[in-house]
């Protein structure tokens, strides 16, 4: 598969699957990217780095982009998404990496657009007669999750902005998009791309993990809690560790927003949230809470959503599933099927003769983790308090809440969600479309990587 891609062998991840990885190889690769970083990236201005990154992202969006073409040719089989779903996700991802957005990211997280270039001062700093500079880690190692490609691409981008030599250990068989991204950067700037290394190797290679971590000043890890913990245990206390464990997301529809007029648009947006990346990202909804008392009830929302998912399957089909995951969906459906046969408090809609999509309506407000791959719960709930009570099991683990609310209720509900611990509240339909400068798990992504030097003036 890899050799079919016909990319120049710049990165370890470009080597054929059977290539043997050793700790010495990892160490050697680290030395090369460190050398290249000192020569090329460290002295580079922020404006140049941003130009390169935005230029590389643009290469993905052009008509007949070779990178998009390769991603769509090999991605469906390697990553398990349909061509359409993958393309939509990648367009969203690379469309967010524009120069103004990247500049805004730096200014937002670090308080000044030139913060990574020189000592500079915000208004507050000027007032206290200080100037400050932020410096990224010289060496930054990433262990990335394999569920969706976005997190590896954004981790790499953040590392470039803070001028780190980077080594990305991609999830097994999930290196395609990060590799293509690195090659697109190389297309714009070979020196900058030479400060990156990407590799994939089967999990449980502790020797390689140690060789990856050893030269790194900072280590990031995304994935299951167990995967993040497995990395963290090897990171010495004197190194910075940024871990992003598992998160779940949900949607909340306020009763005022449930009218016959607004329903079609609401349902399209919710269906988009369920279908984006086949629901596999941490920002994808498991449950949609529908507030009771509106003109439209949760059951009607569920029925409409089922129709919308059936339509989406025509245009953005779900990827094929391994038997085990399909079996999980089938087994879980059968449980709701028999509940539905016995009580009106449960209803089930499902794609015929496939596991492509499933909607379960339950009056029980308890949060349920979905088996994903377009399996969504729609639940009745009296009010936000009841929804949050129902989601108590996942409190502290909720990343995003899509909120359909308007007027005076919107800020009130947002406050309630924020107080409860939600990190991101977005409109329905935007769950998997965070702006690049969003605060991942409620923390500033660039701010997490840098250290500061304050210069106090006499």
């Amino acid at each position: 598969m890899k050799s079919l891609l016909n990319l120049p062998q710049c990165y370890l991840a470009d080597l054929p699957e059977e290539a043997e990885h050793t700790p010495a190889l990892v160490t050697e690769a680290w030395l090369a990217v460190q050398r290249n970083r000192e020569r090329h990236l460290a002295p580079m201005g922020t404006d140049v780095v941003i130009r390169v990154v935005a230029g590389a992202a643009q290469l993905w969006l052009e008509a007949d982009s070779p990178f998009m073409r390769a991603a769509l040719e090999f991605g469906p089989q390697e990553l398990g998404f349909s061509r359409q779903t993958l393309e939509a996700g990648l367009r969203e991802l690379f469309g967010s990496l524009t120069a103004p957005q990247l500049e805004a990211w730096i200014e937002q997280d670090l308080g000044h657009p030139r913060r990574l270039d020189e000592f500079c001062a915000s208004a507050v700093e000027r007032g206290s007669r200080r100037r400050s500079r932020a410096v990224g880690p010289r060496t930054l190692a990433h262990v990335t999750a394999g569920n969706i490609p976005a997190s590896a691409v954004l981790s790499l981008t953040a590392g470039l902005l803070v001028r780190s030599a980077q080594f990305v250990k991609c999830a097994t068989a999930r290196s395609l998009i990060p590799r293509l991204y690195a090659h697109s950067i190389r297309e714009v700037s070979t020196p900058l791309a030479s400060c990156l290394e990407l590799a994939e190797w089967p999990g449980k290679r502790e020797d390689l993990l140690l060789a990856l971590i050893d030269p790194a000043e900072c280590v990031t890890a995304t994935g299951t809690d167990a995967a993040v913990a497995a990395v963290r245990q090897h990171v010495p206390v004197n190194k910075r560790f940024v871990g992003h464990g598992h998160k779940v997301s949900l949607a909340y529809v306020a009763k005022e927003d449930l009218t016959a007029g607004s329903l079609p648009q609401l349902i399209e947006a919710l269906a988009g949230d369920v279908c984006a990346w086949d629901q596999l990202g941490c920002l994808s909804p498991h449950v949609i809470y529908v507030e009771a008392g509106g003109a439209i009830g949760a059951e009607r929302v569920a029925a409409g959503l089922a129709e919308a998912l059936a339509r989406m399957e025509e245009t953005y089909p779900r990827g094929p599933l391994p038997e085990k995951q399909a079996a999980n969906i089938r087994s879980r459906r059968s449980l709701y099927e028999i509940r539905a046969a016995h009580s009106e408090e449960t209803r089930l809609w499902q794609s015929p003769a496939s596991t492509a999509w499933t909607v379960v309506y339950e009056s029980n407000p308890r949060f349920q983790t979905s088996c994903l791959n377009r399996f969504i719960y729609v639940k009745d709930v009296a009010d936000l308090e009841a929804a949050l009570q129902g989601a108590d099991d996942v409190r502290g683990r909720v990343s995003t809440v899509a909120l359909a609310a308007s007027g005076a209720r919107a800020p009130e509900l947002a406050r309630g969600l924020a107080d409860w611990g939600v990190h991101r509240i977005c409109p329905v339909g935007a769950m998997q479309k965070p702006p690049v400068l969003w605060r991942h798990d409620g923390r500033p992504a660039l701010g997490e990587l840098v250290r500061w030097t304050d210069l106090e003036e006499p």
Binding site: A145, G146, N147, G223, T224, D225, H246, V248, L280, C282, L321, E323, K324, A326, A327, N328, I329, R330, S331, R332, S334, L335, E337, I338, R339, A340, A341, H342, A353, S354, T355, R366, F367, Q368, T369, S370, C371, L372, D393, V394, R397
Partner: protein, 378 residues
């Protein structure tokens, strides 16, 4: 209707006897009454007697007059047994029942029984067990030759009255097939099964001295516990020739997990029971019949699990619910006539490859049960 079910069980008993005879003499002979006829008749009875099952059929738009092929009989999933009473028996006729294994914190599947339904269970269990574990059973061992001994690593029926596996082994132990029998397991406070190792050791020592071959039965994790204990004590036991093992039922987090090959190699090494005398059984609370992978003492051809002629296993695509071609994986669905008093068609949460003559399990106990606080892997 219930009396019709009783008359069905008499037909089933004849079918079992006949197919047992046929299997022994001429495996190709088609019995006069076919599986298909019995299955469709039983479906009709269960549709009218089993209330939750009927609701399920109605939800699928299925009635007895719409089903003409036994393969199309609607299956209840094993997970549904955790919430619904899939029984044709009126409450006042239920005398007991079984529960699936699990800790005190998990929801367990339940089945319900009466004296009559247990008779069906036993009528199904015994011939197929005997054929695979005791093919050459010395009913009357020649004078001077010791009889076969039986050791179950599970708790006794008194200790685990709700376990269908324990019930099965208890029934087996009381057939007059064994000169001696022991149940050497205990339940702990979390409903787990543990072994009384000193007792097992002493008992095995006894059978070795008497040169009495032994049939050793238990779950895979029982055997891992036994192997671990023997390793700690640095013991290898030389069980008398003709000794055999029936292992079943996966690990369920009760011990470290071994592949079947590794488990069998360990049993061969520590107990001197060669792999051709180690038989894998596949059964579950929700089923009246069991499958075995080969006949003890014969060299296994493919170790595919085979159900008796009165139960049929289908491997169905999890996507479409239709039978997969040979060699492909899918969910195991079983149509078991011995489930006369519950639901004959049961879809499990086990993944298997469809083989020419049976099943090869590739994954058991998928995590389909939704749980609010257990987070999926990303």
């Amino acid at each position: 209707m219930l009396s019709e079910l009783s008359s069905f069980t008499r037909r089933l008993a004849r079918f079992i006897t006949n197919s047992g005879e046929a299997a022994r003499t001429e495996p190709q002979v088609a019995p006069a009454e076919t599986f298909a006829v019995l299955a469709l008749d039983l479906f009709r009875l269960q549709y009218s007697l089993n209330v939750p099952y009927q609701a399920l059929c109605r939800a699928r738009g299925v009635r007895p007059d719409t089903i003409h092929d036994w393969r199309d009989i609607p299956a209840a999933s094993t997970s549904a047994f955790k919430e619904f009473e899939f029984s044709c028996l009126p409450k006042d006729e239920q005398t007991g029942g079984f529960e699936s294994s699990g800790t005190t914190r998990t929801v367990r599947s339940q089945t319900f029984h009466s004296a009559e339904s247990l008779r069906v269970y036993e009528a199904s269990l015994l011939p197929w067990f005997r054929r695979h574990l005791l093919p050459e059973i010395p009913r009357n061992p020649p004078a001077g030759q010791p009889g076969l001994a039986f050791l179950s690593l599970t708790p006794s029926r008194a200790d685990a009255p709700r376990s269908s596996l324990v019930h099965m082994l208890d029934v087996v132990s009381r057939q007059g097939w064994f000169a001696d029998a022991l149940f050497a397991g205990q339940t702990d406070e979390d409903r787990g099964w543990i072994l009384e190792l000193d007792r097992i050791h002493a008992w095995l020592h006894g059978v070795i001295q008497k040169r009495s071959p032994v049939l050793l039965a238990g779950t895979a994790f029982n055997f891992v516990h036994l192997l671990d204990a023997l390793q700690v004590r640095n013991l290898k036991l030389r069980l008398p020739a003709g000794s055999r093992i029936m292992e079943t039922g996966g690990y369920k987090g009760r011990s470290r997990e071994l592949t079947r090959e590794a488990l069998h190699a360990g049993l061969a090494r520590r107990l001197s029971v060669p792999p051709e005398y180690i038989v894998t059984e596949y059964g579950m609370t929700e089923l009246g019949s069991q499958a075995y992978d080969h006949v003890a003492g014969e060299s296994p051809v493919d170790r595919a699990l085979r159900f008796p002629p009165w139960a049929r296993a289908l491997v169905v695509s999890p996507e479409t619910g239709t039978e997969v071609p040979e060699g492909q994986a899918g969910l195991v669905r079983i149509l078991d006539l011995a489930n006369a008093f519950s639901v004959l068609a049961v879809e499990t949460e086990d993944l298997a490859l469809r083989r020419e003559h049976g099943l090869e399990l590739v994954g058991r106990h998928l995590e389909s049960e939704p749980r609010g606080c257990s987070l999926m892997a990303v």
